[in-house]
């Protein structure tokens, strides 16, 4: 080997070294982080554990998303917030979305938090009220004495489905929503429209044993906390929705597996929350989130049909809408 060829090799090595180091310092193009606001349906609480967990565990970060969670409350309608672009995602019930659609507000539900409806008629175990028939002659706690309140709709639907006469029982206004206080005070025998999840925990804390009649079992099937977006938002942001739902569902999967830990995440958002109570509620709501027969967050056509049928039965909408436009499982079945 002569000197020239040695030089050539030296040159080659030198060039390659420069090339390699150049590659190393080349800045990778930065994709800007997606910033998203989510309007919750109610005050902070462990019902939204999947969102908190996805933040805490970095699932949104992996998807290059940053989220802001706006708590709801009695004065805040998530539909208006999303309609007015104050949030891109909202959480509300399936029937509200159908009603909005008939008012030319086009939203699409992209996932649900609870796959099963936790609404119940609650009574004390010792009173042995197990079926709707058992309410005949009893006093039922409701939201309005003439059953005109929107929250009394499930009860009206139940009467309709089971063929029971609304005059066969008495009604009283629920004023104290804490556990079974109203029943124990003798104001009523049963309370309509309670969440099995919270109610169970409050009653347990007070040392009471409850019976539940699930509205779900009597044909009142509604998704009570679906995640929704504007219809036009899907067209331009399908990828973002897909990533956000993926991370959120991952958050809920983690939440059902580690209920005690994630209750702590909720408390970070609202320090007034009681950790023990949140832990109990988180455990109680697991079967509503993970039903075992379908992916977390996914929805069934029948539930949407039932919801629409109830709205039609009570003249809350004039004509049926095309349900394929109101929800999609494309983001939950990924």
């Amino acid at each position: 080997m002569n000197k020239t060829s040695l030089n050539k090799i030296g040159l080659l090595i030198g060039l390659m070294a420069i090339l390699i180091s150049a590659c190393g310092t080349q800045p990778t193009p930065v994709v800007p982080t997606d910033k998203v606001t989510i309007q919750l349906s109610w005050f902070h609480g462990v019902e939204y554990a999947g969102f908190y967990t996805a933040v805490e565990k970095g699932y949104y970060k992996e998807e290059n998303i940053e989220i802001v969670l706006n708590p709801g409350g009695p004065e805040i309608n998530p539909i208006d917030e999303v309609q007015n672009d104050k949030a891109q995602f909202g959480i509300t019930s399936g029937d509200s979305l159908i009603i909005a659609k008939t008012n030319q507000q086009n939203f699409v539900s992209v996932a649900t938090i609870f796959r099963k409806n936790p609404l119940t008629i609650t009574s004390l175990k010792k009173d042995n009220i197990q079926r709707p028939e058992d309410l005949v002659g009893k006093t039922v706690g409701v939201y309005s004495l003439d059953l005109s309140n929107f929250f009394d709709l499930p009860f009206l639907a139940l009467l309709n489905r089971t063929g029971l006469d609304r005059n066969s029982m008495n009604y009283a206004l629920i004023e104290d929503f804490q556990g079974a206080n109203e029943i124990k005070a003798g104001n009523m025998d049963a309370m309509s429209g309670m969440f099995a999840t919270d109610q169970q925990v409050m009653a347990q804390d007070a040392g009471d044993e409850l019976n539940f009649i699930y509205y779900n079992d009597y044909g009142y099937d509604v998704y009570i906390n679906t995640i929704f977006v504007k219809e036009e938002f899907i067209q331009s942001n399908a990828d973002l929705i897909s990533r956000l739902i993926k991370a959120t569902i991952k958050g809920y999967q983690y939440a059902i597996e580690n209920p005690e830990e994630v209750a702590g995440f909720a408390v970070k958002y609202d320090p007034n929350l009681d950790l023990k109570y949140q832990q109990s509620v988180m455990k109680a709501q697991i079967p509503f989130i993970s039903t075992g027969d379908a992916p977390i967050g996914s929805m069934d056509a029948d539930v949407w049909e039932t919801t629409q049928q109830i709205l039609l039965d009570f003249d809350l909408i004039a004509a049926p809408i095309d349900l394929n436009t109101i929800y999609t499982n494309q983001f939950t079945s990924q």
């Binding site: 489905r161 009597y218 044909g219 079967p287 027969d293």
Partner: protein, 761 residues
């Protein structure tokens, strides 16, 4: 030079050793996967058969046209009385308790409302948004295990259309089961060793059955191991090495069961699986060490030498170092150098032998492992015992070039071993002769007795060895028990026509094969048992449907016993009906073996219910099934001269509710022919028969009642048409006498009555 020599000897030996260990550990890994694969396949088959039995049971619920009629009325006419509902409900409850399969049976009408359920609290619920309702209207449907809120438990619902007698779909009939049976299936650990386990997870990663090394709380225990994630993500079968839920390295096989949308995982800890591989490694390392020491010593001697022979030796040593182990030096000297040369030569010979055997061992072991994998790969798909036996003996004989191989199956009840298949002409002849051996007899019998392999390296040296004229060239033989734990299923016997042709190494290779064969045989018997059950349930359905079409009770029962004897392959089946007046059991129908001269007759046997010894009477008294699996052991058992071969007997009462209708008695010419499961199947059949008999009787009774009423009407009319009391009395006595078939009838009148009340009338 010393170091070079040592290194150059050391390196090839080390490589050969490492290769041997690697190959054997790979083979063992493959063995473990094959075994797990067989187990997972078995579990999947068991789950599917269970689901089929559930569907057959669902079919049976309304197999009786009368029950179908009753439920149809209930479903179509919602306002029907609570009485009708409770009749159907108790019918369903009986059904569900009898079969023991369902925790709840319910019927949904076309609007989705539960009309009747064994759990009355479920009645009135609306199932419109449940897939088992709308899919059940279209055909058979099974839900994945899912959490039922009102029951606070995971359940599976099986549903299918409810089709009325007129062929219309009028609703859905559904059965609910909990996960106990699936749990039982997963807990059977045949072929899984000390650390193996199987369990089930749902598509949401929730653990559905008990874990061997951890607690399962339904709905709260989740598993995200690689195996679980792969199974659920891909919805497919597969295998791999990964860390399990305890973070312990395992070999795992997973199966996706699409019918239930669940994954079955079979796992086995790697450390247990690789124990034998580590042993191979240790032996190899030992050999390497010895070789190196010898080589080192030799090289040391060589380097100590001087002058020409030493250079010769050095050259030779260098040759050895290059790997030429057949090196010999030709120095014929009587001095120390000569001795050295001699010992050098014997050293090289020894070295070459050592390495040679090592290579041979690797080749043999590789081949053995390949054969073992091949055999087990094929075994897991064979579900027929005869085919399995044939495959195994052929594979074993051909792959190892043995002289002969055959398998005996062990019958625990009889304590004897029966030839099940063998290679070549000798195998075929022994099979044709139905060759049998007693436990303890010969090599095969001893292996079965001790559950240990029995090896004879040289048959001529073993005085207790018995020659077989069909296999004249046998020089060595090994009998390998095929067993699962302590239970011996059979024996694989292998023979070679070379003395020492079968050695300890062969036993090791054959051991892994017989392990696989044992699992495969177990699989076959489980699958066969379950298939048999499913077939029997189908027979029950068929017999009850056929019998319900025959209105005449004795003809119907003749059909039933005839079909029962044929379909269940029994020696005999007969039915006794209970006579309430005498409290006797009267024979009414006999089902004889095909071609029996008595076919069509049933004699006149009558047994008092109180009779102590009779099994039939005992079943009637206790209202429970009575099983006697060896009638000769049963003191006081009464033989029937027409049925000389009866060996076991099963009597089940025919009951409607709590009322005794009769007894169905079935007999087999085999010992231990009946299990609790058989009793449960025959009880199902018996209850169908009882209901049919009861219905037919009710029909006859109501006809008779109607006839009697008609007669009374006619007589009354005739009496009323008489003009005088005398005429009326005349007509009355004549007609009554005629009606009851008396020659003469007399009426006496009390004059007071005639004077008083008689005038009023």
């Amino acid at each position: 030079m010393l170091i070079t020599t040592i290194l150059l000897v050391f390196i090839p030996v080390l490589i050969t050793g490492a290769a041997a260990s690697y190959i054997s550990s790979q083979g063992l890994r493959q063995d473990v996967f094959d075994q797990l694969e067989s187990v997972a396949t078995l579990k999947e088959a068991q789950i599917k058969t269970w689901l089929e039995s559930l569907q057959t049971n669902l079919d049976l619920i309304f197999a009786n046209p009368d029950s179908l009629e009753r439920v149809s009325e209930l479903v179509l006419n919602q306002s029907s009385a609570e009485q009708a509902k409770s009749t159907v409900r108790s019918e369903l409850t009986n059904n569900s308790q009898r079969s023991g399969y369902f925790t709840e049976i319910f019927v949904i009408d076309k609007d989705g409302q539960v009309v009747v359920s064994t759990a009355s609290g479920q009645e009135g619920k609306i199932m419109t948004s449940q897939p088992f309702f709308h899919e059940g209207l279209k055909g058979r449907y099974i839900t994945p295990p899912n959490y039922e809120l009102s029951l606070s438990n995971y359940t599976i619902v099986i549903s299918q259309p409810l089709i009325s007698n007129t062929g219309k779909t009028i609703g859905v009939v559904a059965g609910r089961v909990n996960l106990n049976t699936l749990n039982d299936i997963m807990q059977q650990r045949a072929g899984l060793g000390d650390t193996g386990e199987t369990y089930m997870i749902s598509s949401n990663f929730a653990v559905l059955t008990n874990l061997r090394f951890g607690e399962t709380v339904l709905g709260q225990t989740y598993i995200h191991t690689d195996g679980a994630t792969q199974a659920i993500k891909n919805k497919a079968n597969g295998f791999g090495n990964y860390r399990d839920y305890r973070d312990i390295a395992v070999a795992g096989v997973y199966h996706w069961v699409p019918e239930l949308q669940i994954a079955v995982l079979a796992e086995h800890s790697e450390s247990e699986a690789l124990q034998s591989a580590n042993r191979v490694l240790q032996v190899t390392l030992g050999l390497v060490a010895i070789t190196v020491i010898i080589a080192g010593f030799a090289a040391f001697l060589i380097t100590q030498g001087i002058t020409a022979p030493i250079i010769k030796l050095a050259n030779a040593a260098e040759n050895i170092a290059r790997g030429n182990l057949n090196q010999q030096v030709d120095i014929v000297q009587q001095d120390e150098i000569g001795v050295l040369a001699n010992s050098f030569n014997s050293m090289t010979t020894r070295l070459s032998e050592l390495i040679g055997t090592l290579e041979q061992r690797v080749t043999d072991r590789t081949k053995a492992l390949a054969t073992s994998s091949e055999v087990s790969r094929r075994l897991s798909t064979i579900l027929d015992q005869k085919q399995l036996v044939t495959e195994v003996v052929e594979q074993v004989k051909n792959s190892f070039n043995y002289y002969h191989a055959h398998i005996y199956m062990y019958d625990e009840d009889r304590g004897e071993l029966t030839m099940a298949g063998g290679t070549g002409e000798a195998g075929a002849q022994m099979l044709a002769q139905g060759h049998k051996l007693a436990k303890g007899q010969g090599l095969v019998g001893r292996a079965a007795e001790s559950n240990e392999p029995i090896l004879v390296n040289d048959t001529s040296q073993d005085p207790s060895w018995l020659p077989n004229p069909l296999l004249p060239d046998t020089k060595s033989e090994v009998a390998m028990p095929i067993s699962i734990g302590d239970r011996v299923l059979g024996v694989l016997d292998v023979q070679h026509n070379i003395v020492d042709g079968l050695k300890r190494e062969d036993v090791d290779s054959l051991q892994s094969i017989v392990n696989q064969v044992a699992v495969a045989l177990q699989n076959i018997s489980s699958v066969e048992t379950m298939a048999k059950r499913a077939k029997e349930l189908a027979s029950v359905a068929e017999i009850s449907t056929i019998s319900s079409r025959e209105a005449d009770v004795s003809k119907m029962l003749e059909n039933v016993v005839h079909l029962t004897q044929r379909r269940f392959g029994l020696y005999h089946a007969h039915i006794f009906l209970h006579d309430e007046k005498t409290n006797n059991l009267q024979i009414i129908a006999c089902g004889w073996k095909e071609g029996d001269e008595h076919e069509g007759t049933h004699g006149t046997t009558s047994i008092p219910v109180a009779q102590e010894q009779s099994l039939v009477a005992r079943a009637a008294r206790t209202k429970q099934a009575v099983i006697v699996n060896n009638v000769h052991d049963e003191s006081g058992w009464l033989p029937n001269p027409l049925l000389p071969d009866t060996a076991s007997e099963l009597a089940v009462p025919l009951l409607v509710g709590d009322q005794l209708i009769g007894v169905l008695d079935v007999q087999s010419d085999r010992l231990n022919a009946f299990t609790e499961e058989d009793a449960s199947i025959q009880t199902t059949l018996a209850s169908q028969i009882a209901v049919t008999v009861q219905n037919a009787r009710n029909l006859v009774q109501s006809k008779r009642l109607a006839e009697r009423e008609a007669l009374v009407n006619i007589i009354t009319q005739k009496i009323q048409s008489a003009t005088t009391v005398e005429d009326a009395l005349q007509v009355a006595v004549r007609e009554l006498g005629h009606a009851v078939g008396m020659k003469s009838t007399m009426v006496t009148l009390d004059p007071k009555v005639l004077a008083g009340e008689g005038q009023d009338n």
